[in-house]
């Protein structure tokens, strides 16, 4: 397979600067791809798909017949991040999580940041994910956001930007581990030569972090993963992580709270549970405390939590910092708590709750991406350049009716990675979701989920809407491959758009 017909198209390409020249970090990979016999690359792509099918790497699709599973499409051309770039991202992510944890803790205690007017009080008080039940609560070890999956994108200026903080129940890490497994068996030699940093210790790190949260009196903590059940779209991930960590996968109906203690129903009686990695949203955790109609949760769970008899990761109430409007304030939040400038910046964001930004947003709907504060998975979103007049008019009404609920961002020219299209390679847009664990210390998994929009020209990478994934190679060598030169088409962010 060769790159003769490959076009960079003015985007930042993660692998090449032009069809003949690889970036320094990707040189070895490019030579290896070119050296393969004709048809060999396609054969390995087919082998990868077969392996994923057999391993049952599937997700459930909502709205279709119950039990329908699909394979998450996978492309074997990896996305490479140089050691120097990663070093900066890692520092930036640690800084961000550190500050966000202080922020959440402040919101449930003194609210200094609101009193000082850095973040408008109203924005927090109107956030659906601000849980008044937790005011004054000290979570175990003072940590709220134990597991985070921060979405990053690279713009055509070659810079990484944070697009979204996922602080509730970020998913996708199982694909990171499985993709790596498949790639290692397909390209063992390239791996050895490229010095790719390993990701397979994630389940160990995750388990260590969870055990760290257990009540102090417990010598051997009993950790479980709480899933909504086998019809949840991320069920495969839940069972995979439980299996990899060697912990029990439980559903709400397996647990019962008795005298402030969470117990698990086993064939030999009741067993105590000390730490719950919950993959259920706050709303559904405990019908006695949150949504009364929840069938997924455990009645009395919050009572046990507040008695300090069980730890929950992530802590309930963490979602308040996941709000898309709160996101816009993160650079100020970092500055406020740490006194530092933000290392990995936000995408410039217009806050519709602010008069000036609202006007700008309404006037420029055709150029902006408008997002609702509390939606995820690419829903509740208007992509200006791809919208019709009618859709824009309808969205304008929604924004005007509830400005607090919306933000707007310029359309980004997401970076691309060569991707197999039948018998040749074409550039496809990608984002990057690294995973961060906050336990004894903050750990950033060297790698992450690279999601790719498989449809030509598409910017939507969500698996529910035609996205796939790639393996992410973070290189180990400490050579300073700083910003391996942009491709000469740097576009100012505010003007960024689709060709």
């Amino acid at each position: 397979m060769n790159f003769a017909s490959y076009e960079v198209d003015g985007f930042y390409d993660e692998m090449l600067t032009d069809p003949t020249a690889a970036r320094p970090c990707a040189q070895h990979l490019m030579q290896s791809i070119q050296a393969l016999a004709p048809g060999e690359f396609e054969r390995r792509q087919a082998a990868a798909e077969r392996a994923l099918m057999q391993m049952g790497i599937t997700f459930n699709v909502y709205g279709e017949q119950a039990g329908v599973e699909k394979i998450f499409p996978f492309d074997i051309v990896p996305r490479i991040v140089s050691a120097a770039e990663w070093g900066r991202l890692e520092k930036g992510l640690k800084q961000r999580i550190h500050a966000l944890n202080l922020f959440i803790d402040d919101l449930y205690h003194e609210q200094k940041i609101l009193k000082d007017g850095v973040v408008p009080r109203e924005i927090i008080l109107t956030a659906k994910s601000y849980r008044r039940q937790l005011i004054g609560w000290e979570p175990p070890r003072g940590i709220w956001c134990h597991i985070t999956g921060t979405d990053l994108v690279r713009h055509s200026d070659g810079e990484f930007y944070v697009l979204e903080d996922n602080l509730r129940c970020p998913s996708g890490v199982s694909y990171v581990l499985q993709n790596r497994q498949v790639m290692k068996s397909l390209f063992p030699k390239v791996f050895a030569a490229s010095k790719v940093r390993p990701v397979q210790n994630y389940p160990l790190k995750l388990r260590d972090m969870l055990e760290f949260l257990a009540p102090e009196a417990v010598a051997t903590p009993h950790v479980v993963l709480l899933t909504p059940g086998s019809y949840n779209s991320a069920y495969f991930e839940h069972s995979f992580l439980a299996q990899q960590m060697g912990i029990e996968l439980v559903e709400g109906r397996d647990l019962v709270v008795e005298e402030g203690q969470v117990l698990m129903r086993t064939t030999k009686g009741f067993e105590r549970v000390d730490v719950i990695y919950r993959r259920i949203d706050d709303d559904f955790l405990d019908p006695k405390c949150f949504r009364a109609d929840s069938m997924l949760g455990v009645p009395g769970l919050m009572e046990a939590y507040e008695a300090g008899n069980v730890a929950l990761a992530n802590a309930p109430g963490t979602g308040v910092a996941d709000d898309k409007v709160v996101y816009a304030y993160v650079p100020r939040i970092v500055k406020y708590y740490l006194g530092e400038e933000i290392i990995v910046p936000n995408v410039p964001t217009y806050i519709c709750a602010e008069e000036k930004d609202l006007r700008y947003t309404l006037e420029n709907l055709d150029r902006l991406v408008v997002k609702a504060a509390n939606e995820s998975g690419g829903y509740g979103m208007l992509v200006g350049p791809h919208s019709t007049q009618g859709q824009r008019a309808e969205f304008a009404e929604r924004v005007k009716a509830e400005p607090r609920n919306y933000i707007a961002q310029p359309t980004l020219a997401l970076s691309r990675v060569p991707t197999i299209c039948a018998d040749h390679l074409e550039g496809r847009h990608v984002d990057l979701r690294p995973y961060i664990l906050y336990g004894k210390e903050i750990f950033v998994l060297p790698g992450g989920l690279t999601r790719v929009a498989l449809k030509k020209g598409s910017l939507v990478v969500n698996s529910s809407q035609g996205g796939g994934s790639k393996d992410t190679w973070v290189l180990a060598d400490s050579e300073t491959v700083e910003r391996e030169g942009s491709n000469g088409h740097a576009v100012p962010l505010s003007k960024g758009g689709l060709p």
Binding site: G67, T220, G229, S239, D254, T266, T267
Partner: protein, 328 residues
């Protein structure tokens, strides 16, 4: 292990075994009807009678004909005991315990389901049913083999075997009972060539024909009953199944054999002893159907006891400290 997980593993196996056995007795009846002397009526309602779903069947289908019975027992998604429903239920159970079973087991069960599902969509008719029932038996054997070859033989595996063996014992007794229902209808056939053919069909339906020949030689009703009911070495014989179920039950609870700690251990122990100390002549004298009927009732009690002892979602008694199991 979690009660819910044990429950799912147990039922996953039971449903697979049930699907296989429904395939067996539909198959045996088809064989019998093909060999029936000319002029004799087709007999399909006994088949429905022995599944215990007679009322449901009559309400929905009316008269028992070849096509209605085959449809009801094979592809009817509204009949929870049809082959299709059983395999679907087994797969749903497996899906909820994917981290407990081996991926090879999941793969095989998934293939099994897809095969039955596509047959239900495409065929539904009668033309190719024999091939289909063979495929169902094969797929079930494969699943059992994969289970034994890939799964750690600890608690979960024992629950799986327990489910399979309890179900198989129940269904072998029902297959034997088919003969009883047929006898009822055609007393004048006893001792005729067709009678012999019927007994051979019964043996074949339990994959027992060749093994029987090695053990007993001549086809005699007494021998067939002894073989399918009391043999301690043939894997579909009721006695064999119950002993295996008992062993798994004791492996799960750690109770020494010959003693008991809960109801299912007691009941199953008694059943095994009963069969060990009963001769085939006593069974025949007592009445085969009556004996089997009582056996099935006791088996149901064992099943009920297993559910209550291990799976039932009891809540801790308020005010009383719950008993905590040791953390492993």
């Amino acid at each position: 292990m979690l009660s819910r997980v044990a429950d799912s593993v147990y039922w996953m196996s039971r449903y697979i075994e049930r699907a296989e056995n429904v395939a067996r007795f539909v198959d045996v009846n088809i064989q019998l009807m093909l060999d029936a002397p000319e002029g004799q009526d087709q007999q399909w309602d006994p088949l429905v009678a022995i599944t215990g779903d007679h009322e449901e069947f009559t309400r929905r289908y009316g008269a028992a004909t070849e096509s209605s019975v085959i449809k009801f027992l094979t592809f009817d998604g509204d009949n929870p005991n049809s082959i299709f429903s059983c395999v679907r239920a087994a797969r749903e159970n497996a899906r909820s315990v994917r981290e407990i079973i081996s991926s090879e087991m999941w793969l095989q069960l998934n293939r099994f389901y897809l095969m039955v599902n596509s047959a239900a969509q495409q065929r539904g008719g009668l033309d190719e049913h024999e091939g289909f029932y063979d495929e169902v038996k094969q797929a079930s054997h494969l699943f059992t083999g994969v289970t034994d070859a890939t799964m750690t033989q600890s608690e979960a595996w024992h629950f799986s075997r327990l489910g399979r063996m309890v179900e198989r014992a129940d269904k072998t007794s029902r297959i034997l009972d088919v003969k009883y229902f047929l006898l009822l209808r055609s007393v004048e056939d006893v001792g005729t060539a067709f009678d012999g053919i019927q007994w051979i069909a019964v043996l074949r339906s339990a994959s027992a024909f060749e093994m029987y020949r090695k053990r007993h030689g001549r086809i005699l009703p007494r021998g067939v009953v002894e073989f399918l009911m009391l043999d301690r070495e043939f894997p579909r014989a009721i006695q064999f199944c119950l002993m295996a179920a008992r062993d798994s039950l004791h492996a799960i609870s750690g109770t020494p054999l010959g003693t008991f700690r809960h109801a299912p251990e007691k009941l199953l122990g008694q059943l095994c002893s009963d069969l060990s100390f009963t001769g085939v002549d006593e069974v025949m004298q007592y009445g085969l159907h009556e004996y089997l009927d009582e056996l099935q009732t006791k088996l149901n009690q064992v099943g009920q006891g297993i559910v209550e002892t291990f799976f039932a979602f009891k809540t801790p008694q308020p005010g009383k400290k719950p008993v905590l199991a040791a953390v492993q």
